[in-house]
Amino acid sequence: MRSRSNSDQLFKRAASVIPGGTYGHLSPASSLPRHFAHFCSSGKGVYFHDVDQNEWMDFMCAYGAVIHGYQNPIIESAIEKQRSVGTVFNHPHEVSIELAEKLTQLVDFASWSVFAKNGSDLTTWSIRVAREHTKRTFVVKARGAYHGVDAWCDPGMGGRIESDRADILEFEWNDLEQLEGIFKARKDQIAAVILTPYHHAAFAPSVMPEEGFWAGVRNLCHKNGTILVLDDVRAGWRLHEKGSHKYFGFSPDMTVYSKALGNGYAISACVGIPELKNAASEVFLTGSCWSDAVAMRAALTSLEICEKDSVASLVLDKGKYFCSGLENLALEFNFKLRMTGPTSMPYPWFDGDDNLYRIQNFCQIASKYGLFFHPHHNWFISNAHDQVSLDKALALARSSFEEMQNEL
C-alpha cells in the first residue's frame, strides 16, 4: 500500500470542520477509502500527485471535468489573460456572448445558450423551462439515471420529502413500451423527458441505447408535445465534437453540458431550440459568480481545441485502444472483463461480479501500481493520454491481473 499519512491527517482535520470530511462523489467512502488518497496536491497532463507525494496515472480526469489533461497550456494561457483583467463584474463580460455564439454554432439545433456553474443548476432549470413552455407538470427520467444533486433526482436519501418526486416518473432505460405507457397514462401532462445519451449509472455496467431507442423517444416526445432534454453533462464532448446527440443521431430540444466543457473550470451550459427561447427568458436564472469570465474563457478555449483537433474522435480512439488492450489482458489471466459504454468513458465490468468484489480487488491492486482505476464509476480518457501513457497503464494493469490471479 502507498504512503498515506498526510492524506489521513488532512482527512481528520477536514472531518472536524466539513461534514463527513469530504462529501458527494469525492467522499472516500464511495470508492476505495484505504487505497486511494483523500487529497490531491497537483496535476499535469494525465498524472496527479496526492498529498503524500504519490504519483497517479489518472483514468478519472476529475470525474470527467478534464478532457485536455490537467493544466492544459493553451487553456491556462487563455485564462491567465482573462484573469489579468478580472473575472466577475457588475455586468457580464463579452466572453459570455462569444461562448454562446460558439455553442450555438457547434450544436446544430441550438439557437440560444445560458450558463451556470454545475450540471445540476441547469438540468433542474431546463425542466422548469419545459414546464413553462408546455404548462405541464410531469417529468420522465430513466430509473437509476443521475441528473444532479437536486431533490427531484439526487441519489442520496437524506433531506427529502415525498412531494419532491411526486411529479417525476421513471421508466427502464431502453424500454420504449414502458415509456409509451407513461405517455398514455399521463396524456397531455408530461412536460419533459430528460435522459443521458446512454445509461451510465454508477455501480453498474453502462448500457448503450438500443437500435431505434432514440428515434422512438424523439417520436414519442414530438407526438405528445413534450420537450426532450438531453443531459450531456457527463458525456458531452467525449462522444462527438458537436454534442452527443450527433453521435447517436437524434435531435433534442435542449441539452445541458458541464464537466469537460471548462476543462476543470466550473461552468455549465444549456442550449435549446428557438421555440424555447421565450420560456427560457421567463424562468429565473442566476448565481453569485455565474458570469465568471475566467470559466467562460476556459470553456471557449476548450471548445476551440475540441473542434480543431477533433478531440472526441481522438479520445474515443485512444479509449478503444486502451479498452481492448485491457480486455485482452484480462482474458490472458482468465478474467472476463468487459469495458462497457463508449470507449472514451468506459465502465469496467467483470462478468458474474454483481457484488463488485472482483472489480474492487482489481482496482485495489492497480492502486499499488499508481493507477487510478475507480471500481464503481465509469472511467474517463482525456486527450492528454497518449500511446506512451496508455501502454504504461496496460503494462501496470498486466502486473495487477497477475497479482490478482496469484491471490486466487
Binding site: A15, G20, L356
Partner: protein, 228 residues
Amino acid sequence: MHSEQIKAWAVSRSIYMGGNVLEIDPYNRLSIKPQILNEHMVSFGNRKELVFTNENLLKLHRVGFSLPEIGFLMSHPFQALKKINLLRKIGSSLKANVRSKAYLRLLLAVGLEATAVHLNEDKKCRSIIGSDKGIVEFYLDGDPLPLASLYKKEGSVWTVTITALQKKAKVRISFKSVDVGIKSCLGQLNPQVCSALGDYTIDGYLPLMDKIGYCARITGHDLPILGS
C-alpha cells in the same frame, strides 16, 4: 403498521434477539417470542401472560421499566414473572456497557433486529430499500465468522441471524476493533469518516450498505441509544 406499533414491535423483536445472542435456553427463549396481539398490544410468548401496550413497550425501552397488562398477567402470574425476569436479564446485559466481543455482538444483533423491523414495516425505509435483497455480514477484523448478518431472500422479509450463512454476502462490513464496533452500534461514529480512516472497511455492493446504514440511523432516531 402505524409508527408507534413499528417502534414497539422493533423493541419486542430486539429483546427476543437479545435472548438469542445471550443463548438463553430454547424453551425460555421461545417463551418470550413476541406476538402481535392487535395493533395496540404485543405479547411475549403465545400464552399471553405477559402483554404490553405499545406505549408501555416504548416506555420499557426508554426508562427500563413499565407495567405489563395486569389482566393478562394475573391469568398465569408465575409464568409471567419468569418472563419478566428474562426480560430484565436481557435488559441488564444490554446496559452492561463492557468492551467485549460478546457485548458488541449483542448490541449489533439487537440493533440490526430493530433495523430489520423498520426495513420490513416502515414506509420510508421500505421505499429506500425497495426491492434490494441479499446478505449483509458484519465482522470483527480478523475473525473468520461474522458477528451477525442481516439478509433478505427472494419473497421473504429482512431477517437477522447470528449463525453464519452459507451463501456469499452481497456486502461485508468489518470493524477494526470491538470499541469501534460498539461505538458504531451506538450511533456515535460518522460512517463516512470511519470508512475513510479505516475504522471499518466495507467490501462488496456499497449501495446496499448505504441504504441499510441510512435506515439503521432512522431506526436509531426512532429508538435512540439502544443498549447504552
